[in-house]
């Protein structure tokens, strides 16, 4: 698996991970704006609630795929080594909350009132996970 990831990324695992995670983080910020419009908290003239909600769902699907790829790359290539403990904890929590949120959206509709809270948790965890890895890497931390 590690060799496959190395081959797919041409040996640039950190760089590919950084790009994918940064795209996911930027889309997550856009998600906040979209769902604020979706719930009617923001009412711009150029975007109505249904279109914002649908784009939120589509963009969220893209983020799930990106996060899954980055997480699999992390686990397969780096595993659970001693350094980066905060990154490991926030990453694991992110996957867990993400999975729970998807379950609520797809099947457990009775828990729909938790979606704003779950969405906020996903955003905060994604931001923390990005900051402790890609953000650190881009900032020259190595």
């Amino acid at each position: 698996m590690e060799q496959l990831i190395d081959d797919l990324t041409f040996g640039n695992v950190y760089e590919v991970k950084t790009v994918l995670a940064s795209v996911a983080a930027a889309l997550a910020v856009y998600q906040l704006l979209l769902i604020a419009v979706g719930y009617g908290k923001l009412r711009p003239r150029f975007l109505a609630s249904p279109a914002a909600s649908l784009t939120h769902r589509a963009s969220g699907d893209v983020i799930v795929v990106l996060v899954a790829i980055v997480a699999l790359t992390c686990l397969a290539h780096f595993g659970f080594d001693d350094h980066g403990r905060l990154h490991q904890v926030t990453g694991a929590l992110l996957i867990a909350v993400f999975a729970f949120k998807i379950a609520v959206i797809r099947w457990w509709h009775g828990l729909g009132r938790l979606l704003p809270l779950l969405g906020t948790c996903v955003f905060v965890l994604l931001a923390l996970t990005w900051l402790t890895s890609a953000g650190h890497f881009l900032g020259g931390g190595g």
Binding site: E15, T18, V19, S22, V23, A26, L27, Y30, L34, G38, Y39, F46, L47, A48, S49, P50, A51, A52, S53, L54, T55, A58, S59, V62, L138, G140
Partner: protein
């Protein structure tokens, strides 16, 4: 979230904004990573000095 009719133009516009965000982030991050790589390569090779020496030798020959 409402169950109103979705305006196609608004949907297309919001999706295009998402694609623009993706494109901009890719360009910015790759440029940032590329800058770091370029600096390292320059530091390792010291190629700039070589180019100056080559140009000087060319002038002498002409």
């Amino acid at each position: 979230m409402d169950r109103e009719r979705i305006a196609p133009r608004q949907l297309l516009g919001s999706i295009l904004v998402a694609l623009a965000i993706v494109a901009i982030v890719i360009v910015v991050v790759v440029a940032r990573l590329g800058t770091g790589t370029g600096e390292n390569r320059h530091d390792d090779s010291g190629g700039g000095k070589g180019k100056v020496e080559q140009r000087q030798s060319g002038d002498d020959g002409g």
